[in-house]
Subunit: 208 residues, 2 copies
Amino acid sequence: MCPPALIPYKPRNPKTRLSAILSQEEREQFAGHMLSDVKDAVKDALCSPVLVCSELFDSEDVQVTITDTDLNGSLNEILPQTAAEALIIMADLPLANAEAIRRVTSTKMDMAIVPGRGGGTNVIFLKEPKRFHVDYYGASFIKHMKIAEEEGLSCEVIDSFRLHTDIDEEEDLVELLIHGSGKSRAYLEELGFSLSTEKGRVGVARNR
Amino acid sequence: MCPPALIPYKPRNPKTRLSAILSQEEREQFAGHMLSDVKDAVKDALCSPVLVCSELFDSEDVQVTITDTDLNGSLNEILPQTAAEALIIMADLPLANAEAIRRVTSTKMDMAIVPGRGGGTNVIFLKEPKRFHVDYYGASFIKHMKIAEEEGLSCEVIDSFRLHTDIDEEEDLVELLIHGSGKSRAYLEELGFSLSTEKGRVGVARNR
């Protein structure tokens, strides 16, 4: 009934591309709040979040699977053991909401995918997880579309900016401050971040 | 039956943020091909494209309105004269397709809006154009949401990365090379652009 939503998560020293504006401790907190927003959206969409970590990590409210390989290795161990449907969703999608996730999980095709900005893959939904394997990093969206084709799986590309927008760089924080409504946006504001407009272009400024 | 799709268009020296990788002539050609892709999508969605230009511009296949004011002035002159529904869509959205545009024009609310990356506004659909006025530049998405509220108009935000992705900078070309299927993608390829992956990050390279 409730398909698992596998969420790869790196608790220690995450989001290094934000190092210029956030300390390591702030990045760890921020990543935790983004994860929390993703978990909330996933639960609202009636999926069961399962964290997939390569480091020891305790969570009071969701199942955690600790693996000793990388992202691809971990997921490719889990998928063949998953009997029914499975969702894979990244932890840095704080604009995710239940409506967008339901557009993914209600696909009529064998699987659905949401591309991330820059060629990545942000969400994959699989009706038969054992027929697919993942290949993240680089232009993984193209690789995943090719794997689907090779495996004879029909695949719907879901057109969502909420699930397309992964938060990696300073300019991505603009999207979160404009469109976010959860804990990670509140945390940014707590740290003193707000929108700033210079020469007609919108960025973020931090008031310390 | 076919609502007008107002498309603001600047034929001369457009897309200056691409100057480092495209000559002025190439930028003008590229902007023309993006416009063509947008026109095709708009027509497939059963809207009638109308170009809104502040410079003299001839188009063999669509209506052109020449105005002598800026973007806001031009549109705010046209909207009160528009009797029925109207769509406003930017010319630099070459990933637009009919399906995404139909999600906008089929809103049950008084209007629909699609945010652009960085706080902008890429698409607006108005059931009663005379009740709205536009205020582009800067964080226009926030301004437009506020105008809707002030005018008592219910407004749906459409969640589409195809309409969210405006092509302004070099890194945006990655999206076009991955997700585009029209003339502007073909033109980029003709100019020698292709995807390149360095250190796991995807960019574009030009083979001259």
